[in-house]
């Protein structure tokens, strides 16, 4: 097809120029060279009548107003003259909609013809191109087909004598639609310049059927194709071709376009940019005009200008050069402005809004305006991450070998649709964007084509950067899958176009289609569908086909039905909290406003279905409303109904009777009736309940894991409830006594020492320690370094009384004291471990339980008479948690204060001097548990003496049980 396209160019030029000249005067003049009369309407009529007269024998009733499918069309076109006649007859007013079915052979031919015979039709192409908006490329394909048909008349004609007429009829039919299209394009098409560029490339691309709507326009020359065009959905047929025709909010449109323009420096470099710049400048002018435009007529001046642009561009188009000399001035201006800007900060554009407002259309139109080729990925495609990655890479890296060298723009439609797959897409994009941010520094301001090469070279190396605009489209901005995307993307929320705008457009279309409507009815329709243009058009077309008129009163019964649309949850909350203005009631004037409101809310809430979340949101926000409530009765009622909602929810979940959920929407309505206000509510996402749940779980977890660390003889008596209720506050008081002076332990009085010992034992038994807030506690080192850091309880029990806005009267131990405590506790722990497991288990109990103690000592002691000191050491060990801990505490503090205290050593020496004589004897005779205990004890003394660090190496000397004693590694090193 491409080749075909290229060949005819010179011819096209000629034609174009001729046409253009004509255009300047009047657009309609274009047609004279071709079969059209100037007045299209008239011509249509004439032609129809022309053709109708012969086939009068056919029965009009046979033509059913019902469905028109492509298949039907084709069959119709192909059949013998009779069929054609029938067709024509049926729809003088309706334009041939009604058609009887005919043989199918011919249509096939027709199809093939389209493909084959593209060259001849090209004459028409250029003309077509000029007229329509920049965007539509598919038109060409269609034209070929149509043109082919026309040319072929002689070839296929032999079927019957009447053929000639019949064929002519077809063409004429084609013309009629064409004319309409032309009008459309005229009205909208200010920005025609890019078309030249587009033309060459556009032909190469096979576009989605949706875009074919515009295709009708090109067929100016050859009438016969009409039926095809005719049966298109109006939605497609009247889809905006140019930026100015967009119905969506002007502001949004322009921002989207600006965003796309920001890519220019990155994508095109300065030189290539010219064409789009022109477009933009033209756009701006036009859009400003379009804002003021009330009627379609006002479009014409614009169109003329557009055609002028078009001409200029066209002259250069042969060279395939994008420079547009005519637009230099504008371009320069624009360059100055935009040169400094690199690719936009946010590399993704996220469009969201309810269906039918034209998001996809906007994306396509805007991208085309800016000279991009649109690659669309929607929910119907495979969107797994690998596929999408390949696709994006394709967009970013590849330049098509074919003539269409425009850069591509990726449009990911319905990105919120699929959960699993859609996420894949989001992930890939996120990955690319983040990769981009890292590597993207130097790439920003390349004004030249070098940039182009360089970037492409770079692309080859690192695949993962995003160099082309990506537009994502979604309905629900708050879909969970989009959460990460929301943060990095530039988000545009579509708002409904004003009713006026929609209505004027609808009216225009209706006029074109020859449908009689009143603007009141159209307004009603627009409001009913909430300005969903797509559904408006579909409805109108449906009615038109049935030959019914739009009736305001019967709107709800006529229209196929209201969309089963679930709104975003924010909208639902808004509806609940905000009184609607009377606007809504007008659509159903027959029913009471209250009941319609009820119905509306009910369907809204039940369509959404996420009752739990809705109720949460209501609960979170309703107190912020300013409703009049002197004695809180409304509030009580609201909370009561929330309570009921909670009860029913819980009940239906527990008993799995989901049918009970039908009663949930009523609760929202109750709240609405009670507190709804006219002014706009300020709605926040309900976080507090979720936050409450998660923090509660966290705290429960810390408690539970803490209880697991506490020795069982204590922990079994603690339950979370009783602990929180009874124990936390006193425990905190006990653990931070205000009487303890923060001085070196050596300086403490006896009483204070015993207090300290008591405190340490309490902390150890509850396995509480102080922890550096930043680092995990390493008492050996951090006591010197981290003096400035705050120490907090290790299981963060103080958090449990740390209510917001509450100052607890807890005394906080000074930092120095905390450090001492950390050290003491650590020491105490090591001591406990090293005194042996058996002791450890009993440790807590045996001080006051003489029974156990007796049992333990009377336990296995084979070498009874061996050592007199053995029992004493044991008893020493046993009795005295207090004494040992005081000793240890002395050591700790002394080291802490960095004073080498003599006292510990002396005590250690004393112990040792006591021991040595029997040192080895003892081991030989009592290598049992008892001896181990004593040994450990001695060992512990040594530990204290030589090194205060808690690290303990155990080396078992010898290879039998004969001699087994732990030795410090230092002893080997020395």
């Amino acid at each position: 097809m491409d080749m075909d396209m290229d060949i005819p160019l010179p011819e096209e030029l000629e034609l174009l120029e001729a046409q253009l000249h004509d255009h300047h005067e009047d657009y309609l003049d274009l047609e004279p060279p071709e079969p059209y009369p100037e007045d299209e309407q008239q011509q249509q009529q004439q032609q129809r009548s022309h053709f109708r007269s012969p086939p009068s024998d056919d029965d009009p009733p046979s033509s059913t107003p019902g469905v028109q499918s492509n298949g039907q069309k084709r069959s119709r076109t192909t059949d013998g003259p009779d069929a054609l006649l029938v067709l024509e007859e049926s729809g003088p007013s309706d334009e041939k909609r009604s058609r009887t079915t005919v043989e199918e052979d011919l249509p096939n031919e027709a199809d093939e013809d389209w493909l084959r015979y593209s060259p001849p039709p090209e004459e028409s192409e250029p003309m077509v191109v000029e007229e329509p908006a920049v965007v539509e490329e598919e038109k060409f394909v269609w034209r070929y087909a149509s043109e082919i048909d026309g040319d072929f008349i002689p070839v296929t004609a032999p079927s019957g004598g009447d053929r000639v007429y019949a064929k002519i009829n077809r063409f004429e039919k084609v013309e009629q639609p064409k004319k309409k299209f032309d009008v459309v394009s005229q009205s909208g098409g200010l920005i025609l310049e890019p078309i030249n560029v587009l033309l060459q490339k556009a032909e190469q691309e096979a576009f989605t059927k949706a875009m074919q709507a515009s295709s009708g326009e090109p067929n100016d020359i050859i009438p016969p194709e009409t039926p095809v065009v005719h049966e298109q959905l109006w939605v497609d047929k009247y889809a905006p071709n140019s930026f100015t025709e967009l119905l969506s909010d002007e502001q949004t449109n322009r921002e989207v376009l600006l965003w796309l323009k920001q890519w220019d420096s990155c994508v095109y470099g300065s030189e290539v940019r010219s064409t789009p710049d022109d477009v933009l400048s033209a756009l701006r002018r036009h859009s400003s005009i379009s804002q003021h435009r009330k009627s379609l007529d006002s479009n014409f001046p614009r169109k003329n200008r557009g055609s002028r642009w078009n001409k200029e561009d066209f002259s250069h188009s042969n060279a395939l050069d994008h420079k547009d000399s005519g637009a230099k001035g504008v371009q320069d201006l624009w360059n100055k402005k935009s040169r400094s800007t690199g690719p936009p900060e946010q590399k993704i554009l996220l469009l969201c809004g309810p269906p039918g407002l034209g998001k996809t259309t906007l994306a396509h139109v805007a991208a085309k305006h800016c000279g991009y080729r649109v690659i669309e990925v929607n929910a119907s495609d495979d969107r797994s991450s690998s596929t999408i990655e390949a696709k994006i890479l394709d967009v970013v890296q590849m330049n098509s070998v074919t003539v269409d060298s425009r850069p591509k723009c990726l449009v990911i439609d319905e990105i919120d649709g699929a959960l699993g797959d859609g996420k894949g897409a989001v992930e890939v994009i996120l990955k690319m964007v983040s990769a981009d941010k890292k590597s993207d520094t130097g790439k920003e301001n390349f004004p030249n084509e070098e940039n182009h090469e360089r970037t492409s070279a770079k692309k080859g190396r690192k695949t993962a950067s995003l160099l082309r605009p990506v537009i994502c489209i979604c309905n629900d901005l708050y879909a969970p899958a989009l959460r990460p995307l929301r943060q990095i993307a530039k988000v545009h929320v579509f708002v409904q176009p004003t009713v006026n705008r929609v209505v004027s457009r609808l009216k225009y279309i209706c006029n074109k289609e020859g449908m009689k409507t009143s603007s009141i009815a159209l307004t009603g329709l627009a409001e009913y569908t909430e300005c969903d243009i797509r559904s408006c058009l579909n409805t109108l077309q449906f009615l038109n086909k049935k030959k019914e008129t739009l009736n305001l009163l019967e709107l709800s019964s006529q229209v196929v039905g209201r969309k089963d649309m679930s709104k975003s949850i924010f909208d639902i909350w808004k509806e609940i909290f905000q009184k609607r203005k009377i606007k809504r009631e007008r659509t159903n004037t027959s029913s009471q406003p209250a009941s319609s409101e009820f119905e509306f809310l009910h369907s809204l809430v039940s369509n959404r279905g996420d009752y739990d979340m809705i109720v949460d949101g209501v609960h979170e926000n309703f107190l912020q409303l300013h409703y009049h409530d002197p004695v809180m009765q409304k509030t009580v009622k609201c909370l009561n109904s929330l309570g009921v909602s909670d009860l029913t929810h819980q009940y239906s979940m527990r008993t799995q009777q989901m049918a009970l959920f039908v009663y949930q929407p009523a609760i929202a309505i109750t709240v609405h009736r009670l507190v709804a206000q006219v002014q706009k509510p300020n709605i926040e996402w309900p976080r507090s309940y979720q936050r409450f749940r998660t923090t509660l779980m966290e705290k429960m977890d810390t408690l539970r894991s803490w209880f697991c660390e506490i020795p069982p003889y204590i922990s079994r008596h603690l339950s979370t409830n009783s602990f929180i209720e009874d124990s936390v506050s006193p425990l905190l008081h006990i653990l931070s006594p205000s009487t303890l002076r923060p001085v070196a332990v050596t300086l403490l009085s006896e009483k204070e020492k015993s207090d300290l010992a008591h405190l340490v034992s309490a902390m150890v038994s509850y396995s509480i320690t102080y922890k550096n807030v930043k680092f995990s506690p390493m008492p050996g080192e951090h006591r010197h370094e981290t003096t400035s850091d705050a120490l907090a309880f290790d299981p963060p029990i103080s958090d449990f009384v740390n209510f917001k806005g509450y100052t607890s009267g807890h005394y906080v131990v000074p930092l120095a004291m905390k450090q001492v405590l950390v050290h003491e506790v650590e020491k105490q722990r090591i001591f406990q471990v090293s005194t042996g497991r058996s002791v450890h288990l009993m440790d807590g109990c045996n001080k006051e339980n003489q029974i156990l103690f007796g049992k333990e000592t009377s336990g296995p002691q084979p070498a009874k008479g061996a050592l007199a000191e053995n029992p004493t050491t044991i008893s020493n060990l046993r009795q005295s948690k207090p004494t040992t801990s005081t000793i240890t505490s002395e050591f700790g503090s002394s080291s802490n204060a960095a004073t080498a205290s003599v006292k510990p050593k002396s005590s250690g020496d004393k112990k040792r001097s006591h021991n040595p004589s029997s040192f080895f004897d003892r081991f030989r005779k009592t290598n049992n548990k008892a001896s181990e205990n004593t040994d450990n004890f001695v060992q512990h003394e040594e530990t204290l003496e030589r090194d205060l660090r808690p690290l303990l190496f155990k080396f078992n000397e010898g290879f039998t049980n004969a001699v087994k004693r732990p030795v410090r590694i230092r002893e080997f090193l020395l």
Partner: protein
């Protein structure tokens, strides 16, 4: 080591508060025939202590040697496998566990794990004491299904397994289970008993207690022995030579609730209600059960309330507590109570003072 733990009685003989119960239990145990037991009573009354003392009486000091086990059980429930994590304390003869930790999956714990434990007969060479003991805590938090599955286990394996159940409120334990157990009610200790215990501890620690001081602590303790002993020790830590008018540090959450109560009394409006909600969330977040919050809040409000309103307010408190237990989101119902109170109180104020 805190005094609570240090002076916890370890045998039935040492028990001071519920001596009559202890003596009966002792007789029961010495006769070698011990039924299933269900202990219920408020927290801080000594249920756990009694249970441990009984076990000690049954098996001797070996029951003191327990090991903590945090085990993951794989349970087959229909088509899927469920992993349950459960912490148990076990000695050779008894196992303690807290089945309600598993939340809504507690049924599987009862059906699989407890049954399996109950099935396995302890190997005892001497042939006597042929039973082991399972201690289940917080039975009242078990779901209904779990309790139903428990009752058959109790019957079937009763020859060599005894269950000791422990809970706060027997009303949440199904009839079926209650009828299979010997119910032992452990009431909260009276203030005199608390005083006696405190004095005992004081003597052991060699402290001078001014007269009336112990009584004051007991009075503030809400008849919870644990709380009494803890605040006693707190006082000791804060200021030793006791003075009889020494301040006894309050529970923080109770203080907080009384702040909330005074907030409510000061102003009644949706805005204030919103602030109260935030504070209630604070309490809830810190693991304080909503029932207790409601109870305490009512208590604080009643203190400041005109006598005419007390009845009505109590009624509504009960009403909302009921709904709270039926429902799931406690905050809704707590808040509804506060709103209701505000409404009543404001109407009352308007009626009284115009």
């Amino acid at each position: 080591m805190l005094w609570v733990d240090k002076y916890r009685p370890r045998t039935l003989d040492q028990i001071m508060v519920h001596q009559d119960v202890a003596q009966n239990l002792k007789k029961l145990v010495t006769e070698q025939d011990c039924p299933h037991l269900l202990f219920y009573g408020p927290s801080g009354s000594g249920k756990k202590t009694l249970i441990m003392a009984i076990i000690c009486q049954m098996f001797g000091p070996s029951a003191e040697k327990v090991k903590v086990e945090n085990r993951t059980w794989k349970v087959e429930a229909g088509s899927r496998n469920i992993d349950l994590e459960l912490t148990t304390l076990s000695s050779t003869n008894h196992v303690e566990l807290n089945p309600s930790d598993a939340g809504f999956q507690d049924r599987y714990i009862v059906q699989e794990i407890i049954k399996e434990m109950a099935k396995n007969r302890p190997i005892d060479t001497k042939g006597k004491k042929g039973f082991k003991v399972l201690v289940l805590n917080e039975v009242d938090k078990l779901s209904r299904e779990a309790q139903h599955s428990l009752r058959r286990t109790m019957e079937k394996y009763s020859t060599y397994c005894r269950l000791i159940l422990c809970c706060n409120s027997s009303s949440k334990v199904t009839e079926a289970i209650r009828s299979r157990c010997l119910n032992v009610r452990i009431k909260a200790p009276t203030e005199e008993q608390i005083v006696k215990v405190l004095e005992f501890i004081g003597k052991k620690e060699g402290l001078q207690i001014p007269s009336g001081f112990a009584a004051r602590i007991a009075e503030k303790s809400n008849r919870s022995l644990r709380r009494a002993i803890l605040s006693f020790e707190t006082c000791r830590v804060q200021q030793y030579p006791f003075t009889s008018n020494q301040s006894i540090p309050p529970m923080d959450w109770e203080e907080y609730i009384s702040e909330i109560a005074s907030d409510i009394m000061k102003e009644q409006s949706p805005k204030r209600l919103y602030q109260v909600r935030l504070k209630l969330y604070e309490l809830l977040v810190n693991c304080i059960p909503p029932e207790i919050i409601l109870k305490r809040l009512l208590y604080e409000l009643l203190k400041k309330l005109d006598i005419e309103l007390k009845h009505e307010v109590c009624h509504w408190a009960a009403y909302y507590e009921h709904r709270m237990r039926l429902g799931q989101k406690a905050i809704f119902h707590l808040e509804a109570f506060v709103a209701k109170f505000m409404s009543i109180y404001k109407a009352f104020l308007i009626a009284t003072f115009g």
